[in-house]
Symmetry: D2
C-alpha cells in the first residue's frame, strides 16, 4: 500500500483527493492536514467518507508526515506550497504539488506572473510537469510533480498535437474558456457567494490570467517556436467543469480527417482522452466527476478557421484526478487505478 498524506485536505481539491483515494485499492491515508479543522473527525464533516471514520484532520507536522508517508499531495496556495514541498522532498518523500510552484521551467516566468519570489528555485529544474499524455516517461521517475492547472490541461491537450504536427499555425490562437466556480477554490468571499455567482456570467482577468504563461510554455515546446496567445477565462454558474472554445488557423490544405488522425496518433491509446469525430462537440456533463478530457472540433471552410472544443472536470482531470494519475505512474500502478469513476451525466 502506498502511504499518502494530503496537505490542505479540506479545500475542494483536497476533498476530491480524499474522495478518490477512499476508493483507491493501493493507497492508504497517512495524514490529512487542515489547519482550520485540525482535530475534527473527517466523517463529521463528510459522513459518506466512512472509510476515514477514525481519521481526524491535523495540524501540519512535517516529521510525522515524513515518517508515515511515501507520497504527499500539496493543495496549498502557491509559494506556501513550495516551502512545505521542498522540505518534504528533502526528507525523501515523493511530492505532487497541485499549486503552480513546480510547473515552470523558467523560474523567472513564474516569478513575473505570480509576483512572488520562489521559495526553492533550485528544485524546479528537477520537477516534472505532470501531464501524463505528454510527459509520461519523465513522470515515471519523477520525485517532484508540478501538477498542471485546470484551465491549462483543458487548453494544452487539444492544442498540443495540432502544433506538434504542424496542423495549425502557432500565431493567432484564441482560447475562450469557461470554468465552474469550484475552480476558484473554497473561499469566504462575497464575489463567490451564491447570490453573486448564480444567474450571472462574466469574464475575468482578461489578458492577464496567470495560466496564460503556463499554456504558452507548453505550447511553445510543442510548436518549437514561441507561442503567444489570448486566454480569456469566464466564471460559469455551475460547480464543476471547464469548457474551452479554441480558435486557430489551420495550415493550408488541412482537412477534418487530418485533424482527427493527429488526435488519434497522439491520444488514441490514452485511457482518459475522448476523441470525437468532426462536428461532435463535447459538453461538460459528459465528463463531470470523471477523469476524462473530451476533445471535439469543427473546421470552418468559409473562413479557414478551426474551432476546437475541449471539456473536463476541473477538480478531477484538472486537479486531483490528474494528481492521482501521476501518483499511479510514479508507483508503477495501472494508471487508471482509483479513477474508474465515470461521469454521471446528471
Amino acid at each position: 500500500m502506498i502511504r499518502v498524506s494530503i496537505i490542505g485536505a479540506n479545500g475542494y481539491t483536497g476533498l476530491e483527493l480524499m474522495n478518490l483515494l477512499s476508493g483507491h485499492p493501493q493507497a492508504e491515508i497517512a495524514h490529512l492536514v487542515s489547519r482550520s479543522n485540525a482535530g475534527v473527525k473527517v466523517s463529521r464533516l463528510y459522513p459518506s467518507l466512512h472509510k476515514f471514520e477514525c481519521k481526524c484532520f491535523e495540524e501540519l507536522d512535517l516529521g510525522a508526515i515524513a515518517d508515515d508517508s511515501d507520497v504527499v499531495f500539496s493543495a496549498l496556495p502557491h509559494a506556501a506550497s513550495a516551502e512545505v514541498c521542498g522540505k518534504l522532498f528533502e526528507k525523501g518523500l515523493k511530492v505532487i504539488d497541485l499549486s503552480a510552484d513546480f510547473r515552470y521551467r523558467n523560474v523567472s516566468v513564474y516569478e513575473q506572473w505570480y509576483k512572488v519570489k520562489h521559495p526553492c528555485p533550485e528544485l524546479c529544474s528537477g520537477a516534472v510537469y505532470g501531464l501524463p499524455e505528454i510527459y509520461r516517461e519523465k513522470i515515471k521517475v519523477a520525485k517532484i510533480i508540478g501538477n498542471p492547472g485546470c484551465y491549462t490541461t483543458c487548453s494544452i491537450l487539444p492544442l498540443y498535437p495540432l502544433l506538434k504536427d504542424k496542423i495549425i499555425r502557432p500565431q493567432g490562437i484564441i482560447i475562450d474558456a469557461k470554468s465552474g466556480t469550484s475552480g476558484a477554490g473554497r473561499k469566504a468571499e462575497v464575489d463567490y457567494s451564491f447570490c453573486e455567482v448564480n444567474e450571472n456570467f462574466k469574464a475575468y482577468a482578461v489578458t492577464t490570467h496567470r495560466h496564460t504563461s503556463e499554456i504558452e510554455q507548453e505550447l511553445s515546446f510543442a510548436a518549437g517556436a514561441d507561442v503567444a496567445l489570448s486566454f480569456t477565462p469566464h466564471l460559469l454558474p455551475i460547480q464543476r467543469g471547464i469548457l474551452a472554445t479554441i480558435y486557430c488557423e489551420p495550415e493550408q490544405g488541412v482537412t477534418g480527417g487530418d485533424i482527427f488522425t493527429a488526435y488519434q496518433k497522439h491520444y488514441g491509446s490514452e485511457p482518459f482522452v475522448i476523441i470525437n469525430e468532426e462536428g461532435v462537440l463535447p459538453e461538460i456533463k459528459q465528463v463531470r466527476h470523471s477523469n476524462f478530457v473530451s476533445i471535439g472540433f469543427k473546421l470552418d471552410k468559409r473562413l479557414n478557421r478551426l474551432i476546437v472544443i475541449s471539456a473536463l472536470d476541473n477538480l478531477v482531470k484538472g486537479a486531483s484526478g490528474q494528481a492521482i494519475q501521476n501518483m499511479n505512474i510514479m508507483f508503477g500502478l495501472d494508471e487508471r487505478t482509483g479513477l474508474e469513476q465515470l461521469s454521471r451525466y446528471i
Copy 2:
C-alpha cells in the same frame, strides 16, 4: 418629494431599496450609507442605477442625514440598528427599521431570542409593527416602524385571518418554510458560497429560529390566546423567494368555502395579496421581484388537516418593498407608489 436616506445601502435589502426608490416618483435619495464602500460612486457598482449617477456611498453622518432627510431606512444588523435609529428618531426623523429591533411589544422576548440587550427599550412601545394588512391605521401615524421579517410576513399573513375568525385551532400549527439564499444577506462566508449552496438543500436552526417568536407574537394577538408553533426554515438554492407550507387543524365543519371567504373578507381589497381558489397553489416565480404575497390552500378531508401555502419575494414584500409600502402609508401616498414592479415569471 420625500427625502430618503438608507443606512446599510450596499447589502441586498439596501440595494433593493435603491432599486425600488429609483423608480418612485415621490421620493428622492438624500444619503446612501455604506461603510465598506464609502466614497465609491453608486453607478460604478450598479451601472443600471443611472438615476444615482452622481451619488456616492457615504460614511455614517447622523447630522447630515437628519438635516437632509424626512425618513430613514435602516438595513443594519439588529442592535446596531436600534442604536442608530434611536438617535435619528430623536432628531425628528421618521424611521423604518428593517432589523428585528422594533418588532417586539415585549422587549424581554426580543432579548431572550436575540441574546442582546436592547439599546433603547423605551422606544419600543411607541413603535408599530409594519405589516400594512394588519396595522395600516397605526402605521399612518407611526414614527418608528419595525419592518417585519421575511419568513414572518410569509407566515403571519396566511394564518392571521384563519386564527382571527376561528377557522383553525391555535394548537398544533407547523410552518415548514423554504427561503432563497438572499435571505441570509450579503455575506463573505463559505457556507453561503456558490459551491456550498448550489445543488444542495438543508434545514437549519430547527426549533430555534428567531422568527418563531415574532410569528408567535402576532398570531397570539390574532387568536386571542397563546400560540406556540413549529417553524422550520430551509435554505433553497435560488436567489429570491420564500415558500411556506403550513399545516393546521380546521375547526369542525369548516369548508373550503369558509376559508376562501375569510381570506376575501380580510384581504379582498388589499393591493398586494393574491388569494387563490382552493387547490390553486402559489409558486415562487409568480411573485418573485414583486411586492405580492400569494396565498393558496387545500383541505385534506381524509385527515381533517388544512394545508396553506404562501409565497413572496423575501427582498420585496419580505423586506424592502414592504418598507416602502410603509413609507407610502406614513406619508399619505397611494400605497402602491413605486411598487408597480410585477413578477417577471422567469
Copy 3:
C-alpha cells in the same frame, strides 16, 4: 458473472443503472432496451461509458432477453412495466421492477391510487418490497422485487424504527418532502424545462400524491395499526436528491437518547444508513451520487414534537442504487458491490 438487462435504459434511472453497473465487478450487460434510441451506440450518447463501447440500445425482444439474462431491471412506466415483467418472470428471469407495479400487497390499493387495472395481479403476492433494511431475508429468495419509490424510501426508513418501537404515536405524522427534478423523469414537458424549474419552488400533488399510499402501507405494518399521514411533495431546482422534513409526536417520556438508540438498534449495522447524533441534520450534498440515506433528528421539548430529517439521492438509494443492492442480495453477493461510489459533496 450475472447477466443483466435493462428495459428503459435511456431514462434517468436506466442511465444510473448503466453507470453503476459499468463499475460492478460481478455484472455484465446483456441487453439495453430503449425504443427511442434503438440502434444507437451507447458511447455515442454517453462517451464516458467506454465499457459499453460496442453496445447499442435495442428494441424490446423478450426472447433474446430471456436467453441472455439472469436478471432484468425494468425502468418502464407503471402498468407497462408489469406487463413486460410478468412475461420475463414466466420465462424464469429474476425481475427487479423500478415502477410501482409490484410494491403493493393489496392490489386494489394500487389500482385505486394509480387508476389502472393491474396487468398481472396474480404475481403481486409473490413479489417482495425491495427495502433491504426491512425485508433483507425475503429479498434473498425473491423472484420479483417491487423496488421502492424515491420519496417512499426517504420517508419509510426514518419512521419505521420509531413506529416499530412505539417511540412515536402513529397519528398526526406529517412528511414535508422536497425532491430534485430528476425525480420527475426525463421528460419533454414545458413544466420541467429549465426556465420553468430554475429559480422556482413549488408544492405539487398536495394531499393526492401516489407515494402516500405506499408509505402508509409500510408504516402501518411497522405500527401494527393503520397509519394515515400527510405527505406533501415539492419540486426543488436541483438535479438530484430528496430531503424530507418529518413532524411527529413522541410518546410520553421519550428522550433524544431513546431515539438514537432505536436507530442504532435497527440500522447500526446497515451498510447504507448514516445515523446522526441529535441536532446534526442531514443535507442533500452529503449523500448526493451515493447509495446512502442519512437520518437526523431534533426533539422540540417546548412543543413535545419530534422533527426527523432524512436525505438520499433519488436516483441511487431512491431507485437504481437500491435496485442493485437488491440484486446483490438476490445473488448472494456482498450488498455493497458496485455501490462504493461516495457522495462528492460538490
Copy 4:
C-alpha cells in the same frame, strides 16, 4: 392610448411584452393571441398581471385585431410570422415582428440561412431593421419593423462604431457568445429540460448559426465592405442574459482612448447603452431584466488584439424591450416609456 395586440403572447417574449406593457402608461392591450391557451384568463396563469385581470388569451382573429389595434407585436416563429404580419400590414396596422422574417435586405440570404420560402418577399424592402441606436430615423416612419435577434443586438452594437470609424479591421472578427436558456424559447424538449441544461455548458450550431448572417449584414454596412466572421453560440445554465466576448484586430496605433471616444461619439446620448471605461467589463447581472446593453473592452498590447465584451438581457433589449423601444419611436413617445425597469442585480 396606443392599442396593442400580441400574437404568440404566451411564449417568453410574449410574456415579457405583457409584463412591460402592463406598466406602459401610453399603451393598452387589445388582443392577446395564444392558441394553446385560448380562453384561459391571463391572471390565472400569471397572477401578478392583475392589470389584465379580465383579459383572456384568444385564438387568432385577424379582423378583430385589425379593428381594435394600432400596432401588433408578432412573437410567432419565422415564416409563420410573416404570413400573419403581411395580412395585418395590409389592413393598415403597424407591425413589429420579433421573428427573423423582416430583418434581411436581401431575401435570398434569409431563404438560404432559414431554408424556407419567404411568404411575402415584396414587403421586405419596406421593412426597417429595428435597432434604434443605428436606424432611429427610419424607425420613426416605419410601418414594418424587423426586430433584431438577441445574439445579433449583443454583437452588432459593440462592433458597429469600431467598424464604422475604422478602429478595427473588418477581417478576423470572432464572436464567442453565451446565452441564457430562455433564448431558446418555451419548449417542450428534453434538450431544454432542467436536468439536461443545469450544471452543463455547451456550444451549439458552431459555424452554422443563423444569426451569423444577420450580424454580417449589418456589420458589412458599417464597414462598407463584406464582413465574414466566426460566431459561436453557447448555452448557459441561466434563465436570462447574453454575454458576448469579441476578439478583433485594432488598426495600427489605436489606443484605448480612441475606442472609448468612438463609443462615446456613437452612443454617448443613447438612453440604453452603458459604456464602460477600459478594463471595466460588463456582467450579465448588471443588465438582467433591464433594457440596457453594457459594453466594455480591453486592449491587449502584447498581442495587438482588442477584446470587447457586451451584455444584455435577451428577452428585453434582445427582444421585447427593444420591440417596445421601437414602438415608442414609431408613435413619437419618449423612447424610454415603459422601459424604466432596472436590473435587479440579484
